[in-house]
Amino acid sequence: MSRDVEAYMSPKAIHQFPNALLLGEVERLLAEGRDVVLVPKGRSMLPFIRGGTDKVLLRKPSAKELRVGDIVLACLAEGQYVMHRIIAIADERITLMGDGNLYGTEVTERKDVVGKVIEIITPKGQHRKPSRGRLWRKLLPIRKYLLKVYRKWNKLKNK
């Protein structure tokens, strides 16, 4: 069976990073009980996860094991995912906030948490357990300044 010549596009293989579409696939794999490694994007989990640099190992948590301080991947709406830290739990309602964010929280439900960060993997291949961010959460009132210092220090380090 031949297809239309018009429909032909040169075969291509692209190495690509997760986008919303891929995260749907990540959710399915986690639900199947597979662990997933990916490189998160963005600055919203600084200073603990450096978007585009660090990898994270994700696993589907049981609904009961979620605790304040966990970093989780949650599906907020169809095709809209966020990887942030749990800052409050009230029954089924879970409130998330990015460590690198100064304002703004997301409210979701236990059932919409699709994965939990088990390990953070640096580019050098070091594996570490994510901190629970207790102190970082307490320091929210001065987070703005801490992030500034962190960025300055990082710039100097990378010079």
Binding site: S2, R3, D4, V5, A7, Y8, M9, S10, P11, K12, A13, I14, H15, Q16, F17, P18, L21, L22, G24, E25, V26, L29, R34, D35, V36, V37, L38, V39, K55, L57
Partner: protein, 90 residues
């Protein structure tokens, strides 16, 4: 040459994802390869078989009715990217 074992082709809209699937190991999306329709077609045809560039060229010509030169040119580029990605073994 042969395709490397341990990948599952999962379709994702127009594209297909080549997902590393070693049992008991994490699925690593940082090594994820996405294939467009014609590349996915070729992958499925030659998976777990011995093949060479000519095999792929013939498959493209047969399936899409394109001319041999275009197919050859495209296959060269594709094989280069497959080799760079480490998903075929010579």
């Amino acid at each position: 040459m042969k395709t490397k074992k341990g990948y599952a082709l999962r379709s994702l809209g127009e594209e297909s994802l080549l997902v590393p699937m070693s049992l008991g190991e994490a699925v690593d999306f940082s090594h994820m390869i996405s294939l467009n329709a014609s590349a996915a077609f070729l992958w499925k045809e030659v998976e777990d078989k011995d093949f060479d560039a000519e095999t792929l060229v013939n498959l493209l010509v047969e399936e899409y009715g394109i001319d041999h030169d275009t197919a050859q040119h495209d296959v060269e580029a594709l094989l280069q990217s497959w080799e760079n990605a480490g998903i075929v073994i010579n």
